[in-house]
């Protein structure tokens, strides 16, 4: 365990929505340049956990969070932490693609712009690099000024990925990024995740067992707010240590 390169780790993380105890004592380490899949039935807390990793949960009223999440050894729930800086380092991709109603170029350039990049040449460079990384450049390089709402759903989602990596984060959180896409677009996203993990640490929530098995190195199984089991993806899917995990991954419930 000790020689692993840990980017993010949660320690005794508890999340309450009002009186509801949504996440119970979650302790987990997320390795650098690994893809970690979070699986579990709906309402098990996996999305809640994902959103606690860049404090998107802060936006919800009546939420209480206890415990620690450490990014490179620094607790992100420490009172001195700037949420804005944190989110620059921990980006997020949402379930439903949500490009801004602006041009494709403006979408990708948004992040760098708010970080103070003004020079056109530098922006062009970042946009091209990000779109290339998101495997979208070849498809839309001639339509950069088209509205982002006009491209297909799969392209939109990859555009959102390009937009997220344009601010050069260390971690990418993905909340069921392919659940609204057709199989071909899904395959492209999965391929993309595979290449992106060389540069980023990726955490992905998915309802799709096969997807978890295909893209992730580590799989964590959540059930009723608890982290039941975490381990190497191959082991989780072939020889899980817990009965509940086995029942879930073999499709007996969920």
């Amino acid at each position: 365990m000790s020689e692993k390169n840990i980017r993010l780790s949660a320690k005794d993380l508890n999340v309450y929505y009002g009186a509801k105890h949504a996440l119970k004592n979650v302790t987990i380490d997320l390795e650098t340049n690994h893809v970690t899949a979070l699986i579990g039935p709906s309402g098990c807390g996996k999305s809640t956990f994902l959103r606690s990793l860049n404090r998107m949960n802060d936006l919800i009223d009546n939420i209480r969070i206890e415990g620690e999440v450490n990014l490179d050894g620094q607790n992100i729930y420490d009172r001195m932490v700037d949420v804005v800086e944190l989110r620059k380092r921990v980006g997020m991709i949402f379930q439903k693609s949500n490009p801004f109603p602006k041009s494709i170029y403006e979408n990708v350039a948004y992040g760098p712009k708010i970080n103070g990049v003004r020079e056109k040449k530098q922006l062009d460079e970042i946009v091209e690099r990000s779109l290339r990384q998101a495997a979208l450049w070849d498809e839309i390089k001639d339509d950069l000024n088209r509205s982002a709402m006009a491209i297909s759903g799969g392209q939109q989602q990859r555009l959102c990925i390009a937009r997220a990596i344009a601010v050069d984060p260390e971690v990418l959180l993905m909340d069921e990024p392919a659940s609204a896409l057709d199989p071909i677009a899904t395959a492209k996203i999965e391929e993309l995740i595979y290449t992106l993990k060389k540069s980023y640490t990726i955490v992905i929530v998915t309802h799709n067992m096969q997807q978890a098995a295909r893209v992730s190195d580590t799989t964590a199984f959540f059930y009723l707010g608890e982290l039941i089991e975490v381990g190497d993806t191959k082991i989780i899917f072939t020889a899980p240590g817990r009965k509940q995990t086995e029942d879930y991954v073999t499709g007996r419930f969920g």
Binding site: R87, N98, F100, P101, Y110, V167
Partner: protein, 348 residues
């Protein structure tokens, strides 16, 4: 088998429901009534203004009798206060209908040689509306942005209704406040010559315009999908950057529509400008000079005018112009911009 085939033959027969039929018809009728009212008002205002356009060709005596015929019999509503006496007056006076001077720069309707220059009135309306909207828009839009993106829920619950309540504020009260209080403050502060002027009127008018712009802009800002806000925040944008660079641009068509409707309201508003602008038909760029608006002119002169005379028709012409202007403004705001907004968010 038998029991099943016995029942449905009867129970499925079409039934006539009186209450259903009636309520449906009544609702249809009522909704078309309000539509009909608008059309009728429009037709009436135009018909009253119409005599002017045939004036210049014909001798005035013929014209006035024509006017008399029209109004004596089938004018259904409106100014019956001006009785027969004044109509005879109309036949006698009003010898010089100066219709070619609508484009003139002087408004002197009561005179031996009346001048009906509409330009200063139009200019007055434009000027005071512009001042009102220039003051109201930033305040209203920023307030809308605050309630839509920043305010905690309790603040929103207090702010939104109280600003909207301002829309129901009697304009005469606002006018009175401007006339008595605002005008003096403003004069003491800026030290200009005329106590009542376009600026005071515009500032008072902005109180009436703010709630309109605020309500519609706030609606437009809250319909911006939360997903945009989340995406922006998740990239490390601050709340301000998100509100200013994502939420506001996404709601631009709606906010623009709000401003247009605000212009419409300002343009048509009568009582406030009648009380606070000084009512002198000056044409100047100086905001601290008095102006006279189209609406205030109608409001001030309609009760005094000789029924059926040129002046009377000109006032209706002004009314028709006001109608067309605000109608066009509202139509643009409603159909063009709202639809654009819908398209923007509906497509994704």
């Amino acid at each position: 088998m038998k029991t099943i085939s016995d029942k449905p033959a009867l129970s499925l027969r079409k039934k006539f429901r009186w209450s259903e039929f009636l309520s449906e018809k009544i609702i249809t009728l009522v909704s078309f009534l309000s539509f009909a009212f608008i059309i009728l008002i429009f037709v009436f205002v135009f018909r009253e203004a119409l005599p002017i356009f045939s004036f210049s060709d014909k001798p005035s005596a013929v014209q006035t009798t024509e006017v008399q015929e029209t109004y004596g019999d089938d004018s259904p509503s409106a100014t019956t206060t001006t009785g027969t006496g004044s109509r005879e007056n109309a036949a006698g006076g009003d010898r010089s209908p100066t219709l070619n001077n609508f484009a003139g720069k002087e408004w002197q309707p009561i005179s031996l040689h009346p001048k009906y220059g509409l330009l200063p009135l139009f200019w007055g309306s434009m000027k005071v509306s512009l001042i009102a909207v220039l003051i109201a828009s930033p305040l209203a839009i920023l307030a809308a942005l605050f309630t839509a993106s920043f305010a905690p829920r309790w603040a929103k619950e207090i702010l939104k209704p109280s600003i909207e309540l301002l829309a129901g504020f009697p304009s005469v009260v606002i006018g009175f406040f401007a006339l008595i209080v605002l005008a003096s403050w403003s004069q003491n502060f800026f030290g200009y010559q005329y106590r009542l002027n376009a600026f005071v009127g515009g500032a008072a008018l902005s109180i009436a315009v703010i709630p309109i712009i605020y309500t519609i802009a706030e609606d437009a800002l809250t319909t911006v999908p939360k997903a945009y806000t989340e995406a922006s925040l998740a990239m490390g944008a601050t709340k301000w950057q998100t509100a200013l660079l994502v939420v506001l641009p996404a709601a631009t068509p709606g906010v623009f529509a709000a401003v247009l409707l605000g212009v419409g309201r300002a343009f048509g508003e009568t009582m406030i400008v009648l009380m606070a602008t000084g009512n002198a038909p000056f044409m100047s760029l100086n905001p601290f000079e008095p102006i006279r608006t189209m609406s205030a002119t109608i409001g001030a002169e309609m009760a005094e005018v000789v029924f059926g005379e040129t002046h009377y028709s000109v006032l209706f012409l002004i009314g028709a112009l006001l109608f067309i202007f605000t109608f066009a403004l509202n139509a643009v705001a409603e159909f063009y911009i709202r639809q654009k907004l819908m398209k923007r968010f509906g497509g994704g």
